[in-house]
Structure formats: C-alpha cells, structure tokens
C-alpha cells in the first residue's frame, strides 16, 4: 500500500472503457471508480457485457478503447496515430503485474487438474511470487483452511465437489493477496445445493474489508454482498448507486423491470 495515496483515491478506475469483438461492440464506454474496501456487484441481462467488462479489468480481454488505471497508474502504452486516434499496446509484463494485484475467480473454476489442491494454490506463490516451496506450502495451507478445505490439501480437483473446487479457486486467488478480487459468476455452474457454501465464503471475505467486484445472476446475494451496484444494459452503465438505492429504489424503468424479475425484489 502506498502511504502517499489518500485512502479515498480509487484503487481501480476505468474511463470510457470499450471492447469490440469484430464488428460487435460489447462495451460502449464504461466509467468506474473502485475505492479500497468497495464491494461492487455488476448485474445485467445476458449479453449486457457484464462478464466482458469484468474480464477487461484484469485483461483477460484487452479493451479496444478507454483507460484502465490501477492505483493511479495507467495500464498499457498509449500511442497517438497521425489521425489523432489513440491505440494502446499492452505488454505481457505489464499485464502480468496487473494480474498479480487484481485476482480473478472464474465461473468454471479453472483449477489445474494435474495438481493437488494445495499445489493449485502454491503455483502462483512459487512461479510468480518466487516464494520457497515451504513458505508457499504454509501460506497455501492457511488459505485452504480459511475456505474450509484444510482437510483436502492433497486431494485432486476431480475428487472435489463443484462447490469445493470453487473454494479452492478462491483460495488460489486469495493466496496472491490481490488488492482487488474479481468474481465472474462464481456460482453459475454449481448445483443449487452447492451455491450456499461458495456465497458464504465470499461474504466472509467481505468482512475482512477486501475490495471485490462480482458479476452475478443471484440478485439476492448481490444485495447482501455489495456496497455498490452497477446495472449494465447494452454495453453501458444504465444505473448505478448503493445496493440499497439500486435494489430498493431503482430510478430507471429498465432497472426496475430487471430487478423485479427476481422474486426477492418483486414487490
């Protein structure tokens, strides 16, 4: 943490973020400020661009326009063309250092099947943070213990339930001690009875004051989890505010209709 940064300065900021796949423009200019300790739920219908937006923040997708600013530092090297348009090149080294600081948990877990639970969590510590095996092992075991899997250290992912696999994935991301943690629909591929354990794990992180962004279809959970909510519609931020504002008193018609689809907010 940088002492000179005022605590209310955004840790992560994006300005006019755009992303196109071929001719299809998915994100049409998104602005966002994430302050330390914020928990932001990103909601919206299918095709609204919410997952793409999240994936641009750790450069799983490279934005086609706009800025991503991490802790005051712009990511990528901008170059102005002769016609005045700006193109940004992202070097792998820059993106690697962003990803060390901005972790991600995926819908499909993406655990390494040829590594045991603890090896999955140790991998980043050893290959990225260059920790010794024994230090990494200790830290990995702590993180797994924290997500309730302290008794599964040497088990391979294929022997775990979906909920357990996702908790390993959370431990793997946490082990890197990221400043921001991104969750991309973390419960969407889980059987309904396994959703609860993952949501409880995420809520426990909220109590530690961790900065998190979450894309989810579970509106009830988003309401409990989030300090702020962003409703994306057709690649733009349609409505944003505190969880209370957006869920209990949405200002726009489309937001109201979207939220009303969830039984918890239908009144």
């Amino acid at each position: 943490m940088n002492d000179t940064t005022p605590t209310d300065a955004p840790i992560l900021r994006c300005e006019g973020l755009r992303k196109s796949f071929g001719n299809l423009e998915v994100l049409k200019g998104i602005d966002l400020d994430v302050k330390r300790g914020d928990r932001i739920a990103i909601i919206g219908g299918s095709g609204s661009g919410k997952s793409t937006f999240l994936r641009c923040l750790n450069f799983m997708e490279q934005p086609t326009g706009g800025k991503v600013i991490l802790d005051g530092e712009r990511i990528g090297t901008p170059r102005t063309g002769r016609d005045g348009s700006e193109t940004v090149t992202y070097r792998e080294r820059d993106l690697m250092s962003v990803r060390k600081r901005v972790g991600m948990v995926f819908q499909q877990f993406n655990l390494f099947p040829h590594m045991s639970t603890i090896e999955n969590v140790m991998e980043g510590l050893v290959t990225v943070l260059r920790q010794s095996k024994s230090a990494a092992r200790t830290r990995a075991a702590e993180q797994l213990d924290r997500v309730g899997l302290g008794d599964k250290l040497d088990v391979y992912p294929s022997r775990l339930s979906g909920g357990q696999q996702q908790r390993v994935a959370i431990a793997r991301a946490l082990a890197m001690d990221p400043e921001v943690l991104l969750f991309d629909e973390p419960t969407s591929s889980l059987d309904p009875e396994l959703v609860g354990e993952v949501l409880r794990t995420i809520l426990a992180l909220a109590e530690d004051g961790r900065t998190m962004l979450l894309v989810t279809h579970e509106l009830g959970f988003a309401y409990r989890f989030a300090t702020h909510v962003i409703y994306l519609y057709d690649g733009v931020v349609h409505e944003t505010g505190t969880a209370e504002q957006v869920f209990r008193n949405p200002q726009k018609e489309k937001t109201r209709a979207f939220i009303a689809r969830s039984s918890e907010f239908s009144l």
Binding site: M60, M96, E123, V128
Partner: protein
Amino acid sequence: MGYQFDFSMVIKILPVLWRGVIVTLELWAACLAIGLILGFFIALMRVSPAAPLRFLGRAFVEIFRNIPALIQLIWFFYAFPILIGAQLTPFTAAVLGISLNTAAFSAEIYRSGIQSIERGQWEGAMAIGMSRVATFRRVILPQVFRRMLPAFTNRAVEVAKVTSLASVLSVHELMYQGRLLSSTYYRPLEILTTVGIVYLVMIYPMTWTSAALERRMRRKA
C-alpha cells in the same frame, strides 16, 4: 499342403538375430528421441501466432507425413548426398528419414494435444500473474503429455516397426538379419515367424509400461 515347418535352426540363428535386435533398438531409440524432440518444436511452429512459422510447420508436416517412409529413406541415402556432396552411412540416412517422418506425426500429436486443452486453463494460470511461457510449461504441457500418452505410445510402436525399412539400405538391423538368414537357410517362413516374435517381445514391454503409466495417472487425477 506338404510343407513341414522346421524350427530346428532357430537356436543357431539367435546370436545373429540378437545383433540385429541391438541395431534395431539403436535405430528405434535415436529416431524416437529425435522425432519427439523435433516434433515438439514443429508443433510450436504450428500453433505460433506468426503466420510464416505456421506455414513452415505445416509444410514440414505435410511433406514428411504424406510421402511413404520407404521413399524418404531411399531419398536420404541416394538423392540427399548429391545435394550436399557427402555420402551418408546407411544408418545415418535411415535415422534421418525415420526421424523426420516421426517428427511430422508427433508434431500433430502435440498440436492436437495443445489445442485440446481448454482456454480456461490458460486463463486460470494467467489470472494469477503467470507468463504465457510459464503457463505453457507448468500448466498446459503436463496435461498434453497425460492426455496424449496413448497416441505417443502408438507412435513409438509404429516407429519400432518402421525401423525395419532400414533393411533396404542394408542397415544390419533385425529385419535385414532375418532376410539374410532366410536366404542362407532356405527357411524363410520359420525365420520370418521367429523375427516377428522377436519384434513382439521387443515392443510389448513398452506398451505394457505405457498402459501402467496411464493407470497410475488415472488414479492420481
């Protein structure tokens, strides 16, 4: 049919066959090692983001996969020396021909293996800050080896048998010795049967080991 099988000379020819086995094993080991290593780099070219590299990799694979190995051997022994102005030993020409052929096939095994690994594996590794190279080495390749082990076993067995083609260049491997002994004893059926059994005994331990390895990996993952 009045033919009487007579295997009585088999004991006598075993020492000669044994010398052939040694040469066959040398050919096999050399061609497999060179083929697997070269094939790996050809596969990297095949999946490279650079179009010229992809083209070269593709050209290599198509040439050495689609021309019969026998022609490649003969070509390396008789035609290649004219181009480079130096004669190769039959053994070297055989190793060259069979290795390049093996490289073409194993490149395709690596390539399909690499492309069969889900995108999520790359993302899972890159999301914790791993480089593309580290991801490839630590996450993708180990899974490729596991997944493609049966295909590599097939290839290894195939290479063992393809080494018999070296007999046309008079490399003194197992097949060559068999043919030589056939014309010495006028007992080609018995001798070829014996040579066939020797190939089986030589190759089977390798498939057995590979199957055991597969079972062990399944237990683990």
